[in-house]
Subunit: 605 residues, 2 copies
């Protein structure tokens, strides 16, 4: 029997099939709950309050970490408390993993829905032999009378839905409107006005069901981008699409179908269907944008990597193969450049770029790392080919930030301590773990200033191929050990070099010294796990006071949800896109010097 | 080897595969040439002037009918002169079959193209590594600079075409625009701005290729409506669509493909393709409109026969499966009611209804006959179920107005003379022929005032089933005789009763006496062949002075072409549609009395 868990204050809802721990539910839902010890019940940091639901009595671990007053007030440890029926769970700020941008920023900026899209109930006069006025004109008359809407328009698909709905409900319908355009018609009572925000990632599609009236996120889910079967990185997708036009069509259809699947799953939590979606906002890198839109990608695959457009696109959802209300449009915010997508724009929007004017650095680390630097009214963005090292590729035991990945490393007194996502044994190491390992190994003297592993240090050994390697987690019971090799370090320093080169080029371009930077915003789960001290320790980030670094969490999704619910946010994003200056770092004089400089470990580290 | 024949002054062009007579070419092209003797070379009425081309020397018949001066001036008889290479042929008014509405009315009303849709050449600056601005923004900049267009928009499909065109022509393209929206992009020099007007008939699709800059019709063709395989009349098409949804889809696709085929044939005359069509205007009865638009037709098949909309529809041509420029829209003028379509509106537009305010009667005879009566500012339209008798169905030897059909009949001194379409022997009789036969038989006393055939009159015999019949054309050499039976007369009187009932109801509704009617306009080929004396003789039309009756020819097509080239005409048509009051004749008190009265032969006839 399925049931739902609501997380507060985010409003994210998860549909569950069977009993599970709140911590696991929070992870699945992307609700952003801290998991310091990885769910072992030892750190006591995953404090939550059960507001509704009927959990089992507190475990020994909970009784150990929590006071009697806390337990009486409903406070529990998320990793210990199991639920098997509908529940509502409050995540207090102290346990929140990510800065919930849509929430925290929501207080400053108006993300109040602007309400262009709405649903109204309508009683329409049925026709008679003596009154054969057409369906649309009857509905118009009722809208004029009951809603004061002058001359409602309707597209072809909507007219068909209207015709059917009117006759299947005794001429009592719910009419969905965008401005004065009829975009959907449903028999009987009015369903809530729903929208879908999707962050179309190269790897994952993060999908959010939003109530367009309240602006609240009702449910969220993440599904794999099925295009991954055509290649893991952007370039191999583009190449696949270029080999034969039919493949480009297939890439388009597969991602649309994956979104439809997620939409069906999300709307089903309300007993509804994707056809109830009245609006859609899709963000993504420029390649994902073009593949989803069915735009020719050849110019994205060859220098100078030019996008089809730098403006927003509103297109019938059906044109993209997306299930939605017949007149629903999909809004695709402007791509900034060939390698700086609308996800970057959504990140900057959610992080408040352009709204106020401090000196700000925004970084979204991935195979391509997008970096933006704002000073005063100017915002310059660039992309650097940092490669997939921080996503775990080309790293001996690298993996994505998924259960089993070492996400944090501490080396003290010769002892190595690793935090593993989801708890349990280490299966590999993810980006933030690699950075932590590097920084800690450098601090412990296991790596020297030139980035070479020091032979003879405890834990450093030679692999079969004579490659030096440092063991982070020993193997056992058929499990392999997880280690960092010299080659891994070289890869990470190359990636770091590319990112730091981008940062330094932007700072020099705008004449900004590190000391002037008031904010460093890091997007994505990577930013949430990343320890700023480690990032500065290896010179990935310029040295700024620690408290100026913050993680924006899934900021691209937050930006997408803002634009979904609010046309004011769309206009703000479009204005922001118009202000962002794209800088091609590879043509900046001295690029190679920046790069080799950036790849070095800081002298003092 | 194919060649073309241009007809002047209409500008209609025919693509020919082999040698043929000008008269036959004119018939195929719908160029509206008289054919009194049916192409036998005996009447001398099909006078044309060969303006370009290299015909064979004059035949004996031509030397008999034409003076030496005429022959020297290029005048010939269209039925005698063969052409086998490109030719231009002038049809003088004296030989013109139909009043060429688009031409004659063009003088009064402005059908000057309004030029929203146009093509401009554009040189776009190619991108560089240092200037990666996107395609659309580059084109916008060029349009701003060269054309003064502020902020050009583009839809998804157009963006794709733009992207490809820019790169296949060294960034020199032709940009098609509708207002400030880019709707097409072509590599290299600008093709002419083309549009397609289609009268989607239940039986035939009449397609016209129009230059949107000059408003001139460049070529025309007629193709069968392939939906005919699903039933000849509207109701059987609707029923086919209702049996299974897949069939409705197939009906939609088949008519779209037929239009695409005609578009390919027409654009090929200029060496171009349907993708060069920048605008499309489609008129038709409401069932054809809904089937083509893919709108649910169930409410059209059951009383009270309500249309989906009474307003115009502008829809992406691609959405209808029509080949055209990526951003081209198909314009579908408003249907007036379930049984009064946009073809009726186009007819009234072309015939000048609403533009001036005489008392006018407009009639388009078919299985359903649409009738409009205007008096002052009021225009009332109705539809009557006249049945297919005038289209040849349910008539023993009935057939459509096609070669072999008796189109005119004269009975004088006991002798019967028939005009057969295309000349040759009579194979059957079409609507205008049936009316002529009835009127002439009544005049000759072969039919009495109650519509009964008088036994014993010359030519009246008994058929095997004891049915009285009158022979119009004797058989011979294996050919059957063509005759009119008592049953045929009964059928025609029923059809006439329905039409006349509609006319009388409208006249009574608006308080109009026959003497006040200043114009009777009859649409279609039927109107062109119909002898007004015969129509009044049998009481199909109220008695008005003969010169007040005129044939509007293919007026629905003319109206469609007007709306294609001119947004002013679209607005005029929409305003006209808003003014037309639909009257449901079956709910008018005394409808049955009107009907039985209308079915009678006039007392004095």
């Amino acid at each position: 029997m399925s049931f739902t868990i609501d997380f507060q204050p985010s409003g994210i809802r998860l549909l569950c099939d069977g009993p599970l721990a709140i911590a696991e539910a929070a992870r699945r839902a992307g609700a952003g709950l801290r998991s310091v010890c990885g769910g072992k019940g030892v750190c006591g940091k995953c404090l939550v309050r059960i507001e509704r639901g009927d959990p089992l009595p507190p475990s020994a671990a909970e009784r150990h970490h929590l006071s009697a007053e806390q337990l009486a007030g409903g406070w529990r440890l998320a990793c210990r408390v199991m639920v098997s029926a509908n529940a509502s769970v409050y995540i207090p700020p102290v346990s929140a993993l990510e800065v919930q941008v849509a929430q925290t920023e929501g207080a400053e900026v108006s993300v109040a829905p602007t309400g262009e899209v709405r649903i109204v109930p309508l009683a329409v006069a049925p026709p008679t032999l003596a009154d054969q006025v057409a369906d649309l004109e009857r509905v118009r008359a009722a809208l004029r009378r009951e809603q004061g809407i002058g001359e409602a328009r309707a597209g072809l698909a909507t007219l068909g839905a209207l015709r059917t709905a009117l006759r299947s409900s005794g001429w009592r319908v719910a009419i969905a409107l965008r401005g004065d355009e009829i975009i959907g018609a449903y028999p009987g009572a009015a369903p809530p006005p729903l929208g879908l925000a999707v962050d179309v990632g190269t790897t994952k599609l993060a999908c959010y069901l939003v109530d367009l009236q309240s602006g609240q996120t009702l449910a969220a889910t993440g599904v794999m981008n099925p295009q991954i079967a055509y290649g893991e990185d952007v370039m191999s997708r583009l190449e696949a699409a270029l080999v034969e036009p039919a493949k480009a069509t297939r890439l388009q259809q597969e991602v649309a179908q994956a979104i439809n699947g997620a939409a069906a799953e999300l709307t089903a939590t309300l007993g509804l269907m994707p056809e109830h979606l009245l609006d859609i906002c899709l963000v993504g890198n420029t390649a994902m944008h073009h593949l989803l839109a069915g735009l020719p990608v050849q110019p994205l695959a060859v220098s100078p990597f030019v996008a089809a457009l730098n403006s927003s696109l509103s297109v019938g959802a059906g044109q993209l193969g997306l299930r939605a209300a017949p007149g629903a449009q999909a809004y695709l915010p402007p791509p900034i450049a060939g390698f700086v997508g609308s996800d970057h724009l959504a990140f900057l929007l959610a992080a408040g770029f352009g709204r106020s004017e401090p000196v700000r650095l925004g970084i979204d680390i991935g195979t391509n790392t997008e970096i933006a630097l704002q000073t005063g009214a100017r915002i310059v963005s660039c992309s650097t080919a940092s490669g997939p090292a921080f996503e775990g590729a080309h790293i001996r035991h690298g993996m994505r930030a998924a259960p089993g990945a070492i996400e944090r490393v501490a080396i003290a007194g010769g002892e190595v301590r690793c935090d593993v996502i989801g708890g349990g044994s280490a299966a590999g190491i993810c980006g933030s773990g690699v950075i932590a390992a590097l920084a800690e190994m450098r601090s412990a003297g296991i790596i020297n200033a030139r980035g070479r592993m020091v032979a003879g240090m405890p834990g450093v050994m030679r692999e079969d191929d004579d490659m030096p390697a440092f063991t982070l987690a020993p193997g056992g019971e058929g499990r392999r050990a997880v280690c960092i090799t010299q080659h891994d370090i070289d890869q990470v320093l190359l990636a770091k070099g590319a990112i730091r080169a981008g940062i330094d080029i932007l700072m020099d371009h705008l004449g900004v010294e590190p000391a002037r930077i008031e904010e460093v915003v890091i997007a994505g789960a990577f930013g949430s796990y990343l320890d700023p001290r480690h990032a500065m320790g290896i010179g990935l980030l310029p040295s700024v006071p620690l408290e100026r670094v913050w993680a924006a969490g899934n900021a691209a999704s937050a930006g997408a949800r803002m634009m979904l619910a609010s046309s004011a946010c769309r206009r703000e994003a479009e204005a922001l896109a118009g202000r962002i200056e794209y800088l091609e770092v590879t043509v900046v004089p001295g690029f190679n010097r920046y790069f080799s400089q950036g790849a070095r470990l800081p002298a003092g580290s």
